[in-house]
């Protein structure tokens, strides 16, 4: 009999939020206040890199929400991420105005280059930030809603769903590679200048974007917590473990799946929108099916069915990627990534946090009074192998 928000904040969740907020503020302050070159100063390029990781963590949360808790393995979240990114990219393109190479006040450079007579209709409104921000949520959300409505209603589940989400991503990849699709073809959208009047390259803007990403991660985490600790969260797990049982109890399974799939797609879109100004480019390769699967493995590494694990996994795997691909071991990175996929599924099916919880939980359970036990357990729910498809 608790409020939806208070219920979602147990000790582990509070710790997560404090850590994210603390790190975010510390890194920002160190970048701004300490002199450049000082040992403790975090250089701006690193702030942008961390910002990227935080965006990936949001994407990982969105995947965990549907895969870890509802058992839907989407191989299309890279597409929702990229769509959010493109919506933001379109806003940033419109902000360039007449400062482009061709100096056209309305048309972005690539349109001048490709002889567009006028702005395509779907580019209208993206000069306004609020509109672009709305589209960041709406476009991925709407695609997920339509796709999910079709798929869940006809009970496409398991690997079939994974395969058709991958086909969806692939179709979008092909479409965005086309010049006449109106999104810059294979060069994508880049050469951004301003966001809300601030120079995207400036140190201050970078730090602000990083902080905003941390804030969004906390917000996304809270939303996910609120969902998974509600009765709806229990139901999602019930659907994951025994879908037809929930039907025979009188639940409309497709509505629940659709709700959580759409919510998750919106979150992925936000992650993409925050990602684009920090990396300075969005192009069709973001739709590559491999990207979506890679994001799934972050969640698997961190521990699916644990929200902190998903975020942690995203940061750990991407840090490893940055570390190895920039060093002499670069040619071996794909071997490592491939091995990671295999080893995690074979040897660490609960992921880092899930395995940790399995050790920690019995000890912790003794210390916690009955009253808040049900909330504390939430993070420890072990994903069961999917029942046979």
């Amino acid at each position: 009999m608790q409020h939806i928000l208070t219920r979602s904040l147990d000790r582990a969740a509070t710790t997560f939020i404090l850590v994210v907020a603390g790190l975010g503020i510390l890194i920002s302050l160190s970048n701004i206040l300490l002199p450049a070159g000082s040992f403790f100063q975090v250089p701006t390029y690193l702030v942008a890199l961390f910002g990227k990781y935080v965006c990936y963590a949001i994407l990982a949360l969105s995947i965990d929400l549907i895969w870890g808790y509802c058992g839907i393995l989407s191989l299309g979240h890279g597409a929702f991420f990229a769509l959010g990114g493109y919506a933001m990219g379109m806003y940033l393109m419109r902000q360039i105005g007449s400062r482009g190479v061709y100096g056209n006040p309305i048309l972005p450079d690539f349109m001048v280059f490709l002889n567009y007579p006028k702005l395509p209709w779907y580019w209208h409104g993206f000069d306004m930030f609020w509109f672009a921000a709305l589209m960041v949520l709406l476009v991925p959300g709407l695609l997920a809603f339509c796709f999910g409505w079709l798929a869940f209603r006809s009970r496409v589940t398991g690997v079939y769903l994974s395969i058709i989400t991958q086909a969806m991503t692939y179709a979008l990849l092909l479409a965005f590679f086309r010049n006449d699709f109106g999104f810059g073809g294979n060069n994508g959208l880049t050469d951004f200048k301003d966001i809300l009047g601030f120079n995207v390259q400036a140190d201050g803007t970078r730090v602000a974007l990083f902080l905003l990403s941390c804030f969004s991660l906390i917000l996304a985490f809270l939303i996910c917590r609120a969902v998974v600790t509600s009765k709806l969260g229990k139901l999602l797990i019930a659907i994951r473990d025994a879908e037809s049982r929930t039907r025979f109890l009188g639940y409309r399974v497709e509505s629940y799946k659709l709700f959580v799939f759409t919510l998750s797609a919106c979150m992925a879109g936000v992650a993409g929108a925050l990602y684009v100004p920090q990396v300075g480019i969005i192009n069709p390769s973001e739709f590559a099916p491999g990207n979506s699967i890679e994001a799934v493995i972050w969640v698997a590494v961190g521990g699916r069915g644990t929200l902190t694990g998903a975020a942690l996994g995203a940061v750990v795997v991407n840090y490893a990627k940055t570390y190895f691909t920039s060093g002499p071991l670069a040619p071996y990175w794909l071997f490592m990534l491939g091995a990671l996929f295999i080893l995690v599924t074979l040897l660490l099916p609960k992921g880092i946090v899930g395995t940790f919880n399995a050790w920690w939980e019995p000890w912790k359970a003794q210390r916690i009074s009955d009253a808040d036990e049900s909330a504390a357990r939430e993070d420890g729910i072990e994903p069961k192998p999917n029942p046979a498809e």
């Binding site: 509600s230 037809s244 049982r245 039907r247 109890l249 049900s374």
Partner: protein, 253 residues
């Protein structure tokens, strides 16, 4: 059946001339059956007689090729899906006990309660005194009160069967379809289950599919024997078990 034609029959569940075939195999063949309100019926039959398929048809999992399936004398079940049929008040226990193994016994029952099942309702659910009292009552009935906070997956096979029956009770349906409730139970548990079902039957209509003849005898209700998707014999357990065709089917010809 349309709305203009209320109550074709007094039966709570009425099947007439139902056919189902899977790729040429006739799983259900001209099956006709009627359950009166408040009745308890035992369904027996050898493997492959179509018992589970019949339950699939009643609960909307399988659509019959032809035939009439009516609930409460007026609702055509063949046009509805599982969710809608469950909402109407038909509960089902599966042959293989199916509970939510990674959740507590309490939560299993909570999910089964027939309260607001909409997305919004469950997202903003806050619980109520009435709900927890109902859960307590069910826990009492199925004798799992002491382990209410344990994971359902950690229960024994027999306890899972009981939990699933408990979920049916929480669902509070008018008609219970119970598929092999005593499979894997000890004699004592079997006896207790029979008592439990008789208790439930005081308020609700029950259909039990079971192989265990001692159990069926203990229930002491009307028995229907299915064979090759159709009704072979119907009557008291003694009548049915002395029926020559039934003996032939069970012992082989």
């Amino acid at each position: 059946m349309n709305v203009m034609d209320p109550r074709v029959t007094s039966a709570i569940l009425y099947l007439d001339g139902v056919h189902v075939s899977f790729d040429g195999f006739h799983a259900i063949n001209n099956l006709s059956l009627a359950l009166e309100p408040g009745e308890m019926r035992a369904i027996i039959g050898p493997n492959g007689a179509g018992k589970t398929t019949m339950m699939d048809i009643i609960t909307g999992k399988t659509k019959p090729d032809e035939g009439v399936v009516l609930f409460d004398g007026s609702t055509d079940l063949t046009r509805l899906d599982e969710t809608r049929i469950a909402e109407l008040g038909i509960g089902r226990k599966f042959q293989k006990p199916t509970v939510f193994e990674s959740q507590t016994i309490e939560d299993n029952l909570l999910l089964a309660l027939n309260v607001d099942h909409s997305v919004k309702g469950t997202l903003f659910w806050r619980g109520s005194k009435d709900e927890s009292e109902r859960i307590d009552r069910v826990l009492e009935t199925i004798r799992l009160k002491d382990v209410r906070r344990k994971m359902a997956g950690s229960l024994s096979h027999g306890q899972k069967q009981w939990l699933e029956i408990g979920m049916l009770l929480a669902q509070d349906p008018k008609l219970l379809l119970v598929d092999e409730p005593v499979a894997g139970m000890t004699d004592v548990e079997t006896h207790q289950t029979a008592e439990l079902l008789k208790e439930i039957n005081k308020e609700k209509t029950v259909m039990v599919v079971e192989h265990d003849m001692t159990f069926v005898r203990e229930l002491g209700v009307k028995v229907t024997c299915l064979h090759e998707g159709t009704v072979l014999a119907e009557g008291s357990i003694d009548d049915v078990s002395s029926n020559e065709r039934v003996i032939e089917v069970y012992l082989g010809r």
